[in-house]
Structure formats: structure tokens, C-alpha cells
């Protein structure tokens, strides 16, 4: 396990572990963090996992580590790696089980003060309309035919079926659609799970939050995004549900015996991988893209349900109550992108696990309006604390492969959180702070307590100082719905 003396300080917010640190490292590890966050990152095995990722064949440049990094499995959560398209590998453990887990932000023009008396009923209504919890089967049940269309069309399937408006599509990463998805590479079990879980939130750290815009830092950009001080907004954090979990499970398993075939040495079984250009690599890519498209539709359907809840509660102010999409962003995904690496423009497969894309203005895949200002970046805090809306930097940060942090990052284990925090007490404390909580499980709520996470403001400080993104607005929660 490395310590701070093994790292070269590049600046107050950037550190590098050279590839000479361990024999099998092909590239260095570059950490974006203040000294305080770096110290936290060195407590668990997160940096060891980044070192493992740096040993994979065909990884280019460096493994970038975000300020909210913590130990996961395979790659660390908050790890970004770019694999060469010609001779690099794709690793399901570098993307995660919840493929295209991500965050969507919707904004209304309802002022917090006008909604104060309706917050409790709004919380109950959202909780009633939006299914959550274990393997929930109250989702939109879709046929095999529809599932195929969802996986190939992504969010455009929702638009065709009256479950989205055109702006939703424009304001979703890659327009809610990743090319070359192919459901024929997805197992029958994954399809079965996918058919009954569309539009469900799930459990764990997934949530729906109603927040208000606490402070605007860049009024011009916030206006364009539709964010106004004191107005209600909604964050949705969910992913590809059992469909994506099964895709990852299937491929992590199927690739277990492949290392010998391709003579790839892996330091951790969860980092199993296949050459991108191999038939196995292409099969996983096609299945992973199908799950990514499913996740875009899942969040879209949840968004429609939250809109229904808003319409029910704010029926007398339907214009201001309409939830206009700000952005939808993925933070567990592998994407083919072009980046300047060591001075050369290269096509790479960027693995982002617990990290978001953060494109500068004029980058490909952004809608016309966001081409002008850059891509919105959404960083939820822990419930009870602030969340942040940022935007991509003026110029892509190529050391990070144009990526950014995705949250506060855990600092306390779930086991420890459950032991030290009582779910009902936490719920009461949050209510005292004016935050209504609806939770499927009180012990699950305790695991997700604000104290279990790092201070998100420290993450934002590092993100901004390191030039990964710029501040637009901060949000504060009023309602938290947990599965």
C-alpha cells in the first residue's frame, strides 16, 4: 500500500504515483485531491486498485483518480482509465455492476417558500408513484420486442412512446443513446430481469431528491440550464437495475478463464478483461452498451413519474411546476472517445467507474446549447448535505480524460454506519433540519447517513482547483426518497 512519500506532488491538488512504484505498472497513477482528501484515499485499498488498473495492457497516459475516490472492486470507485482501441482491453470491473448508473437533474420554477406546506405530501406522492427497493417489479412491464428497442434506441424509445419530451433527449449525455448496442449479446436472464424493472429506482445509494437551488455561482450558465435561486429541482440517482447487474455478472464470469488465452496477467480476478478487438471484448461492449441504453430509459421513466407527482401536488401552478431537464449523466460506463494523450490525439475506450464525463465547450456529443457553455456535471452530496451543479472546464482536462468526480465518496463502511447510526434517529434529525425522508429500510437509511460520506465541499474544492470542472450552483435537499 503506497504512502504519501511515494507520491510526487504536482500541485496542491494533483499528485502522481510513478509507474516505477510497482513492477507491473504500465503507466502512472494521477490523483486529483487536496492533501486532506489524499490522506483519506490512502486509508483503504483505493490507490492499490488504481495501481492494479495501471497494470492492464494497453492503458494509455495514466490512471486518473478523482477526489471522491474510495475502495471498490476491480477499479476503485472514482477511477478513470483509457484503453487503446487497437491493443487495449475492456474490463467489466472497470465499469461496474450498475452499468450507466447516473444522475439526472430536473428543474422547476416553483419557489421553495410556496412549496413549504406541500413538501410532506409531495414526498409521499413521489414515494407512492415511483417504485423502489429490492428487485422491484412494479416497473413498466415491457415485451421482448420493446426491450430490444429500448436497448438499441435508448432514450429515443421513451420519446417515441410518449415518455419523454425532445428537450429531455437533447439534455442527456450522448442524447441518451450509445451506438452499437446489441441485445443478442445479453443473456436470457438479464433480459428477464430487465422486462419487469423499467422505471424503478432500486435500493442502496439510489435516491430521488427534491432540492432547492441554494446559491448560483454563474448566473448566465445557470439561467441557460434553467436553474434559479430558491426554486425546486429534482435529482434522480439510478442505473440499469437487474438488467445491468446481470450483464456484468455474466461477463465477469465468462471472462474468468480468458486471461490465459490472451496471456493477460491480472492482479485481481475482478479486473478480468478481454482485448477490445477480440470477439469476447466486442461481445461485452455490445451488451454493456445495451445496458447503458436501458439505464437512460430507466431514469427517463422515473423522471416522468416524478413529473406526475409534481403535477398532482402543484396542479394550480402547472407552468412553474413542470420539471424541465437540466442534464442526465452517466458515472459507470465505458465509452469510445478521442483524447490527446502524451501529445497525440488517440481513440480510446474510457472506463469511468464512479466518475462522470466533464466535457469543455465545443466537445462532440453535446447539444447545441451546451456546445456553447460546456457539459453540465452533477455531483450529489450525501442526503442532508449540499449537492452541486458544475460544468466542464474551459478546455478539456486531458490528464483526467475530461472526467470529474461523481459524489462525496464514502469514508465509513456500511457495517460501521449501521452500528453507529440509528435509522429512525437519523430520520428525525433530518426532519428537524427540514428534510422529509421516505425510506424503504431504516437500516438502509443509516448506511447512507451523511456522516458515512466525505465532506462534498472538499471534493468540489479539489475538482475546481484541479481544473476538472467549474461551479454553477449548489443545491440543498428538502425531500429524500430512498429505496
Amino acid at each position: 500500500m503506497p504512502n504519501i512519500n511515494d507520491l510526487k506532488k504536482i500541485s496542491d491538488f494533483e499528485w502522481q504515483l510513478p509507474s516505477s512504484y510497482r513492477e507491473d505498472m504500465q503507466i502512472p497513477v494521477h490523483i486529483f485531491a487536496s492533501k486532506e482528501l489524499l490522506t483519506l484515499a490512502l486509508i483503504d485499498k483505493a490507490i492499490d486498485q488504481a495501481i492494479n488498473a495501471a497494470s492492464l495492457p494497453g492503458m494509455l497516459g495514466q490512471i486518473a483518480v478523482m477526489p471522491d475516490v474510495h475502495q471498490g472492486y476491480g477499479f476503485p470507485i472514482g477511477g478513470v482509465g483509457a484503453a487503446c482501441m487497437e491493443n487495449g482491453v475492456i474490463s467489466p470491473g472497470g465499469i461496474g455492476y450498475d452499468i450507466n448508473c447516473g444522475v439526472r437533474l430536473l428543474a422547476s420554477k416553483i419557489k421553495k417558500n410556496h412549496a413549504q406546506n406541500q413538501l410532506s405530501s409531495l414526498a409521499r406522492t413521489i414515494n407512492r408513484i415511483c417504485p423502489s427497493g429490492l428487485g422491484n417489479k412494479q416497473g413498466v412491464v415491457v415485451s421482448e420486442f420493446d426491450l430490444e428497442a429500448i436497448c438499441s434506441l435508448g432514450a429515443r424509445w421513451a420519446l417515441k412512446n410518449g415518455l419523454a419530451d425532445p428537450l429531455d433527449i437533447d439534455r442527456t449525455e450522448d442524447m441518451g443513446f450509445i451506438r452499437y448496442a446489441d441485445i443478442s449479446f445479453v443473456s436470457a436472464r438479464a433480459r428477464e430481469r430487465g422486462k419487469s424493472q423499467l422505471g424503478t429506482l432500486g435500493s442502496g445509494n439510489h435516491f430521488i431528491e427534491v432540492d432547492y437551488v441554494m446559491r448560483v455561482f454563474d448566473k448566465k450558465v445557470a439561467d441557460l440550464m434553467g436553474l434559479f435561486e430558491d426554486c425546486l429541482v429534482v435529482q434522480i440517482h439510478s442505473g440499469s437495475r437487474g438488467f445491468g447487474h446481470q450483464v456484468c455478472t455474466d461477463y465477469v464470469r465468462d471472462l474468468q478463464n480468458l486471461s490465459q488465452k490472451y496471456k493477460i496477467k491480472i492482479p485481481d480476478r475482478e479486473l478480468v478483461c478481454a482485448p477490445i478487438q477480440s470477439k469476447e471484448g466486442q461481445a461485452y461492449l455490445a451488451a454493456m452498451r445495451a445496458a447503458a441504453n436501458y439505464a437512460f430509459v430507466n431514469r427517463q421513466v422515473i423522471a416522468q413519474r416524478v413529473r406526475e407527482a409534481f403535477a398532482e401536488i402543484f396542479y394550480s401552478d402547472s407552468d412553474n411546476g413542470y420539471l424541465k431537464q437540466v442534464y442526465d449523466i452517466a458515472h459507470n460506463i465505458g465509452k469510445v472517445e478521442s483524447h490527446k494523450i502524451d501529445g497525440v490525439q488517440r481513440e480510446v475506450c474510457v472506463h469511468r467507474k464512479g466518475a462522470t464525463r466533464a466535457f469543455a465547450p465545443n466537445s462532440p456529443g453535446l447539444s447545441k446549447e451546451y456546445q456553447k457553455i460546456g457539459q453540465p456535471v452533477l455531483i450529489p452530496g450525501s442526503m442532508g448535505t449540499q449537492s452541486w451543479v458544475l460544468m466542464g472546464p474551459d478546455k478539456n482536462n486531458e490528464i483526467a480524460f475530461a472526467s470529474c468526480a461523481h459524489g462525496a465518496g464514502r469514508k465509513m463502511s456500511r457495517t460501521q454506519a449501521k452500528k453507529s447510526i440509528h435509522g429512525q434517529t437519523l430520520r428525525n434529525q433530518l426532519l428537524d433540519d427540514g428534510i422529509y425522508v421516505e425510506a424503504g429500510s431504516l437500516s438502509g437509511l443509516a448506511e447512507e447517513a451523511p456522516n458515512a460520506y466525505k465532506d462534498v465541499s472538499l471534493v468540489i474544492e479539489s475538482v475546481v482547483a484541479a481544473g476538472l470542472a467549474r461551479k454553477v450552483a449548489s443545491l440543498r435537499p428538502l425531500i429524500v426518497i430512498k429505496g
Binding site: D98, L134, G135, R193, G204, H245, R410, R414, S443
Partner: protein
């Protein structure tokens, strides 16, 4: 048959983001029984006492023990999602694969959703007939 003495068990270990179990057993049957008990503990499941049980056979192809363990746990995770749980009566291994014979029971409550059993840092240590492993679960 499973040895219902205390010669197998599990303990929940702290993991920064997910959850982990240390499992052990004095024979392969008990090792898998411990893994299953541990998974049910993590999921906080409650069996539906009034529901009928059904005899069930689960067959998994022959693989290295680590793969067999993860396959087995992921099968069980899927069953939990379907509102069912499996109770092992016995298991037999041949060159082709492993058969788990047991009962399927309905679940009345599950408090935590486990997404998957992972291969992260997974190694099954065998010392004589004693098996031990650490399994990280994605939640």
C-alpha cells in the same frame, strides 16, 4: 448431508463501499452453507412461515471453486430478487458439475438488495477439509 454443528460460519467485515463476508466450513457442504447463511444475513431476509416449500435441484457446471462459489451466490441473489430463497440439504460434485439439492422457500421480507457477489480479492483457502474465503458483495 450438512453438518449442523458449529463447524461453519461467517462474519461480516467492514468494506469502504460495499459489504464483505468471511466464510468458513469444515467441509465443502458446510462452506457453501456458511456462504448462503452469510448472504441471507446481508440481505436481512425473513422467510414466509406460512408458505409451502418446494424441493429444488440446482446444477452448476464444473469450475474452479472460486467460480463455483461466485456462481452459486449469484444464483441465490437472483432467487432473492424473485422473492425466494434456497436451503441446502446436500451437494454432490462430479467431473461435470455440482448439484445442490434443497428446498425453495418464499421470502416475506428483504431489507437490503445485494447486487452481486464479486471476484474481488477472492481466494478460497483449503487446509485439509477446512475451507475459508473472503467474498466482497456489490450493494
Amino acid at each position: 448431508m450438512i453438518d449442523h454443528s458449529n463447524n461453519y460460519g461467517y462474519s461480516e467485515l467492514a468494506h469502504p463501499a460495499d459489504v464483505a463476508l468471511k466464510i468458513w466450513g469444515d467441509c465443502l457442504d458446510n462452506f457453501f452453507k456458511a456462504a448462503l447463511d452469510g448472504l441471507y444475513h446481508l440481505s436481512s431476509i425473513e422467510f414466509d412461515k406460512n408458505a409451502h416449500t418446494k424441493k429444488t435441484l440446482l446444477y452448476l457446471p464444473s469450475e474452479k471453486i472460486e467460480i463455483l462459489l461466485v456462481d452459486f451466490l449469484n444464483e441465490m441473489i437472483f432467487m432473492i430478487e424473485e422473492g425466494k430463497a434456497f436451503v441446502i440439504h446436500c451437494m454432490t460434485s462430479t467431473d461435470d458439475g455440482t448439484r445442490f439439492v434443497g428446498e425453495e422457500k418464499s421470502i416475506s421480507k428483504t431489507d437490503r438488495f445485494v447486487k452481486a457477489a464479486t471476484f474481488s480479492e477472492l481466494e478460497v483457502h483449503k487446509n485439509g477439509d477446512h475451507f475459508e474465503a473472503l467474498v466482497v458483495f456489490d450493494v
